[in-house]
Symmetry: C2
Subunit: 137 residues, 2 copies
């Protein structure tokens, strides 16, 4: 079963990446498997490639650097035998995501407080600057 393939443009469409970025990622070795080419040298992406890239997009959105993605890609390219390393890398990122969640929640608390401060301020015409004065909000 010759797997159906996609052109770079189609992959861009379904991953949300630009074709430029797709080529960049390939040049930088961020792909888990080599991309085949057609007779004219055009890239042929498989479903697996798209899946990998979709994960890359998520990883990026959660702050993983291209360098780290590259390390992970290399481990996957090497094949089985380095699962412990992959796990370590993933656990590290897991940790970083949790840190980010904490930070975001902390910031959100502050903003929520300021937002309701301003809402009160606007609703009741409270005097004074809810930011400048040390009134909470």
């Amino acid at each position: 079963m010759t797997e159906a393939t996609l052109s770079i443009g189609q992959v861009a469409e379904r991953t949300g990446m630009s074709v430029h970025a797709l080529r960049l990622y390939e040049r930088r070795g961020l792909l888990a498997s080599e991309i085949r080419r057609d007779a004219a040298g055009r890239r042929l992406y498989t479903g697996g490639d798209v899946e990998w890239l979709t994960n890359c997009v998520r990883f990026r959105a959660s702050g993983m650097s291209l360098e780290t993605i590259g390390r992970l890609a290399e481990l996957v390219r090497q094949g089985t035998g380095n699962e412990a390393e992959r796990l370590e890398l993933l656990r590290e990122h897991q940790r970083r995501i949790n840190e980010q969640l904490d930070q975001l929640r902390a910031c959100l608390d502050i903003i929520d407080a300021k937002v309701s401060g301003y809402e009160r301020h606007l609703a009741y015409g409270v005097t004074g600057d809810p930011w400048q004065s040390h009134v909470p909000a």
Copy 2:
């Protein structure tokens, strides 16, 4: 009561910013109030400045751009009367933080799944690559 002031180095220490960044923020107009100087031209930060900067650090960590911080700073500098605008700006950021939280959680789910996939893999010597093969993980 002449408020106690801090040097730029001290502010760097307690906000976690570098002195370079502190000067940069000032040049870019990201501060809510003008920083006084001593006779020799050295900056004298007040507690309020440190508080503002601490919020800046949080805002940055949650993805607010320097430009947006600058807009907020300007509104605060202008004094009361533009609370509605400030509120709008804060609400917008609130929205963006919530989006980020969603994305992070989504990514975390994927990573969690992969992590436990690899853990199972390592614990039971399951064969096959939990990444390559379409085995969950």
